[in-house]
Symmetry: C6
Subunit: 266 residues, 6 copies
């Protein structure tokens, strides 16, 4: 893990919690695609930025959604000077130039998107462009990375085995307590003494089973809370705006959260 | 709260009911996006106009709906002189120029809209334009604001945690009684003596549980009612047109409302 | 109500049944939008034509339907001479020119239509054209009017409170008996003696609960019936073609209606 | 009914079974739209052709279907010489030129189609073309006619009361026995002696309740059967091809029909 | 039936099993449209090719599917040299040139397809092209033929009575045993001794009720099996590849089929 | 089977497990289309590459998905120099040039795709291009191959009998143990001693019935695991990333898999 300790400024800060950096680098060296799994705001996107910088690779991120189609990734014909002209999409661009192509929340995309990844993620490493008739071979420094949140998956929105079984899987979770305290200190400048209760509060919220929250408080929300506190907002008001309102709309759940917040700060 | 009392004419009138102005300003100074939650017609849109004027920011409002797509926000190619030419959408325009981009009733928009906000609402503050290949960095004076009505949300139409957890949340409700009286006086010129029973009437309607109303009478409807009264319509007729017909189509509910109205004015 | 009695030929005939003319005119003078509710063929459209003429306003009517989108109202780009050129839709046209824009059966329209009305129906009275980047301010003589039939509404097709609460509501019903007799006399020239039993027949049909009719006979159908009678068709045949066939396809319901018709004319 | 007896060759043959010709002509003279209801192949389309010829009107028939939109009726912009040019649809064409516009099986069309008919079918008789901004007034010799089969109607596909109540309704059924014999004789040349059992057979089939047929044998199928018999096919084979196979795919229903056919011809 | 025995080489081989050739020819001579019903691979398509050749008619086959629209059949406007130019679809082409237009598996097509056939399949024999304003009259040698498999039909995918009752119906089934042996001998060259057990095997499979097969083995699959056997594949292997795998994916059903196959060849 | 043992370098490695090579070659020689059935990652795609190389045929692979339409396969008109120009899709290209056209996971494609294959997969071997009016005849060296995974099929996504019965079927499964060991050795260079437990592990996972896995570990995942091990990752970590995370998101299933993995490597 040494490599991750000595970090230059240009490399986005990331604190590893296991073997994820080694696994990712090995996958890259062996030409294998990687799939990241984990909850909202636990650091998957930051991890990819970090690894791209460490490996000296450009990074092309695509936030996937219900309407993202294969053509949005591969490219399309546009009218220029009365002629249709092909314009590469972000995936095609990555395959031509090398670097990491990162599809964030890939299960949200339309089904044709995952299928377009198939020839790129087996030993052929090819991207066929049906519309132009080209067959692109990915260079050695091209890497395919996808992520999703297993907590959201349902029958309609899930990866088929034929897609999943083309990726090395790395599982993410919220950082350990001490690690999370350090992240918040570093990101916001709030002193350690005030960060510790914040992290404890987040851990309590994540363990609340009764309130039926869709998901626990993310590290990102802790950073927001600490930012507001650094700007002079009282801890209670900051927590209400960042650890209660973003987590639920239910009156009863919000009261339950308020109790936990009060128990921490009053 | 002093700043909100001394208001110049150019700043739209808004009467704060809590710490919302301070929170909003802090969020703006720290580059954090904000999400406003609350019922119909309680003043969310007015609040944003007010804050935009106070902070000297331009305001770009987009009313979201079922068919609003990411392309409507970011822009699209149009044919000009036989060539396709990129035309910025309101979000891209805001990111280029700075100012507040306000998505009203964001849960109504299509899912790709919320995803396009993701890179803009984490620490990167970037807007990638996949179709042109540009990667815009939001200037310091850009602020993302969204709103929605938690009362409407259902399973199909709700914000995913991965979106919610990118925003500071501020909860709105109908104004307190005295505050609402002042708002109606100021907006319509109706004298205080006639405003007080109107506000009491609205508070009674909001507390009616038996009539199964979708939502209580908004401050806006009280302003409408007072406007009709100022123009010479009798209180009963004005209330029928503004506090009964807009609230329900059910005969029984309308009779129940009429009873409450009569108890106030007869 | 005097003004409605003295009517010039140019003003479409309308016989008020309550305070609707005063309310409508007051709403127009105060810049408030109006929503008309009531059953099929009871005179809502005629009322709007009448008021438009009385107030000296042009009238732009849009019949809403399942496929009506915001772009149909606001406008779209069309190809002209190799360039895309913006062409105003009826709503934009009305906002630019002033006058009444009347959306008939607004609940039938797609959801984006109602949202496009929001900034036009609060105190801002603005129409933002996202595609051209324009922000139109409605002139003082612009008025927004919508109508719908509450009897049709269901969960999928109804106005959201956030839309409803932007309008003054006026409730319509079939005219009173004497009033309806006068309308039919005036519209068709049929003598009063023959109009009275027709109106009584319609009132009986409207009160039939057992036949499970979707809606009662409208004033329009009575006018049709009287028109056929004036042209020499026997009352029974005329009633069959206008008060039975248009009301139901069910054999049993049609027999029930025929009984009522026979009881009147035989 | 005399007028229908003296018919020139140019007028398509139609044998009236009630007051339908008089009603239709009266509706035309009074400018009222007409709606024809009745089962498959009972002569509705032939009736309209007949009346159009009798009244000296051109006839524009549109067969409605699931994908028929208002734009298919009113017209659309097409690219010509680099410019978009408006091309009238059949409804607009009829309104400009006069004559009958006949929408066959109107309940099949998309909902925007019926709404586009509304201003044409009340006293305004207007066709607004939103896309071109034109407002066409129908000439006196324009007549709107629609038809549908009440037997098919379901909740998703039915005319709303606000549409139905704009039309005079005429109900059709299979012709009476003697009348149907004459129709088949005249259409096919088969002698009366052989037509009579055919019509009796059809009447038996129409009365079969047990076989769960979607609809009985139409007059058209009888004409087909007689045509095959005239061409030398045996009655049994002809009936199998025209009165059994077109009516059902169910083995048991087909056997039931075969029994009835055999009882007639063997 | 003599005509079908003397066949030139240019006429595709077809062995009639009843009066289908006479019926088809009579329908053609009388200008009546024909509908063929029957299971997969029983020879409907071959029959149409055979009759087209016999009657000296060109044949235009359209395989129908979920996305086939009326415009695919009638034609559409395409851009040529900056202008939109009408290009005939296969149905329009057939109507202009004459010959048979054959819509295979017509129930799969979208609903607007069947409606476009209506004016072509009653006594008018017209094809109105709404988009160009043309009204084509079918020449005497034009014939409309449709086919479908009644076994597939469900409520969503079936022909409406108003469509069915416009066609003469001919019912097809698998050929009789001796006839099927002759077909396989002729098509593949496999000697009669080896064809007989194949046909017996197919007949056993078609009678299997327990295995819940969607459909029995078609004549086409027997021809495939015989072809593999002629090329040296063992009967068991050939039957597995042609009479088991194509019929089911269920392990238990495949074992049941294997038993029957083994009983035949071992 | 000898031919498959002597393989040149240019021919992709494939180890046959039955008569699949002979059957495939016979089908090719006889002009019959082939359908491959089997689970994810068992070697279907590799088999097709292998056979294409052995038979000296070019290979055109199309990964099918929910949005793949017939037009994506056959071709479409594109604007070039102001004119629409036809551009062949991969299927049309294959039919013109000869070679194998391979539709991977064909059940995923839209229904019009399978229908476009019908005239290509009976004795006519024709590809009609409705949009251009061409009728292409497939050359002798054209071969149609499709594949799907029977484990995924459901009612909405399955091949209709009329499609299935046009193909010779070949069933695939995971390789036998010894064969799979050899594949992994050859593909990754990992020594046989370390490959054997990996294959045993995979076979145990495939037999786990309790964990409710969608599909067992594929040969591809074993190759991934061996690759990571060759690169120095510990067997436990490699197995976690390749044989646990890609197979499930369920905590309990992952623990069950971890137990099996631990039993193998600890």
């Amino acid at each position: 893990m040494d490599a991750t300790v000595i970090m230059e400024d240009a490399i986005p800060f990331y604190r590893p919690s296991g073997n994820e950096c080694v696994l990712f680098e090995t996958a890259f060296r062996q030409g294998l695609p990687v799939m990241l799994k984990g909850p909202t705001g636990c650091g998957k996107t930051r991890f990819v930025s970090h690894m791209a910088a460490r490996l000296g690779l450009s990074l092309n991120t695509v936030a996937c959604h219900d309407d993202l189609t294969a053509a949005d990734l591969t490219g399309r014909f546009l009218l220029k000077g009365g002629e249709t002209q092909w314009v590469d999409g972000p995936l095609t661009h990555s395959v031509r130039q090398g670097g990491i192509c990162y599809l964030d929340e890939v299960v949200e995309a339309r089904k044709d998107v995952t299928v377009v990844l198939h020839p790129l993620t087996d030993d052929r490493r090819l991207l066929p462009l049906e519309r132009t008739g080209e067959l692109l071979e990915a260079p050695d420094n091209f890497m395919m990375v996808i992520s999703y949140n297993p907590g959201y998956q349902n029958i309609l929105k899930s990866l088929k085995p034929s897609t999943r079984q083309r990726f090395i899987g790395i599982d993410f979770d919220y950082p350990a307590a001490e690690q999370e305290v350090q992240i918040i200190c570093k990101e916001t400048g709030l002193d350690r003494m005030r960060c510790v209760p914040l992290v404890n509060l987040a851990r309590s919220i994540r363990n609340l089973k009764d309130l039926d929250l869709e998901e626990g408080a993310s590290t990102r929300l802790l950073v927001y809370c600490a930012t507001l506190m650094m700007a002079g907002i009282s801890p209670l008001e900051a927590a209400q705006a960042t650890l209660i309102e973003p987590l639920s709309d239910e009156e009863s759940a919000k009261e339950g959260l308020l109790e936990v917040v009060r128990a921490t700060f009053e």
